[in-house]
Symmetry: C2
Subunit: 193 residues, 2 copies
């Protein structure tokens, strides 16, 4: 018998910082289901993004090595980017893959959408796998980051993961999900229902 | 030949919001390696945490179902919590598991540390697997969230993942990593080096 778990009620909300489109911060007064009240529950807004595990026709995975300022070190990174306002996540994933790499996927699998910060909200990470990718255009990258572009095998990525070359939660999550055969199957059946 | 990827230089930093210990926000002026300058690169600070995939002696995984305010819906969640100031991540993981569940692990595997927000920083998610867990005390939970405690098999968790019952990036990442046999092996050999 599942326990009856109720959502929290937002009794009041006050904007604290507006650095749109990058970041907004507000503080909420929360009423918990048991009657307790929390008057300083901070919430952040940041743009959601799509992240793509893109496998070429010959089984290579399009990967970058980049300096990222969050962890202040190099990380392996898969293609991806922010959703435009109101944009469908799969459409954003296809657009970002094409813009960044010039590649187009033959088949796409949706691996779900996940809130990056469990309590404070912020961006949602939309995870996709694209297979049968082939080059159809020149890339138009406008990222701030310099990139080394790599076409790695899954085995090379697996070894790099064990050496700690993934510094970013979204990237290790996507890699672990796609290369987890049971999980990929579970998502495929979930999507088909 | 790897490309020479340089870190960014922080030319200036200004505090914008101090809601310690929950959240701090600052804006940095950044100098990119190619000479460009970005004067509004926002950085957040939030407490880092440990997250534990804890398997009992009979192969059940200690799991909660909770309402979480980030995604504003129910999610499956594994035990975990914030690191105290200066606390070693593994020590924090053992402490949180014991406090929250009353269980102690016989063996621990470190699955790495990952920055939650790739560009803005914030918390680091420290991932662990504990096996052979057995109950040695009563739990002392002080979470705001009401929880339904579940002892699920890996197969039950796998089916739940496919149905979208994980709403949180940290949780699906940990689950995907631990149940990915190749990845677990890669980390074991990485740790042993």
């Amino acid at each position: 018998m599942p326990k009856d778990l109720k959502p929290w009620r937002v009794a009041a909300s006050r904007d604290l910082l507006d650095a749109s489109p990058f970041l907004k911060v507000r503080v909420e007064s929360i009423e918990l289901p048991d009657g307790r009240r929390i008057d300083d529950y901070y919430q952040i807004e940041m743009p959601s993004f799509a992240c793509i595990f893109a496998e070429t026709e010959d089984g290579r995975v399009i990967t970058y090595r980049q300096y990222r300022h969050g962890p202040r070190r190099l990380s392996l990174v898969f293609p991806g980017g922010h959703l435009d306002a109101g944009e469908d996540p799969l459409a954003a994933a296809k657009r970002e893959l094409l813009e960044e790499t010039g590649y187009e996927g033959a088949a796409w699998q949706d691996l779900g959408a996940y809130m990056v910060n469990s309590n404070q909200g912020g961006p949602v990470s939309h995870m996709f796998r694209a297979t049968g990718c082939r080059k159809v255009a020149e890339p138009h990258a406008d990222d701030l980051e310099e990139s080394e572009v790599l076409f790695l095998t899954r085995a090379e990525l697996m070894a790099a993961a064990g050496r700690g070359e993934f510094a970013l939660l979204t990237q290790i999550a996507l890699f672990a999900m796609v290369t987890n055969a049971d999980l990929a199957r579970s998502f495929a059946s979930g999507n088909a229902e």
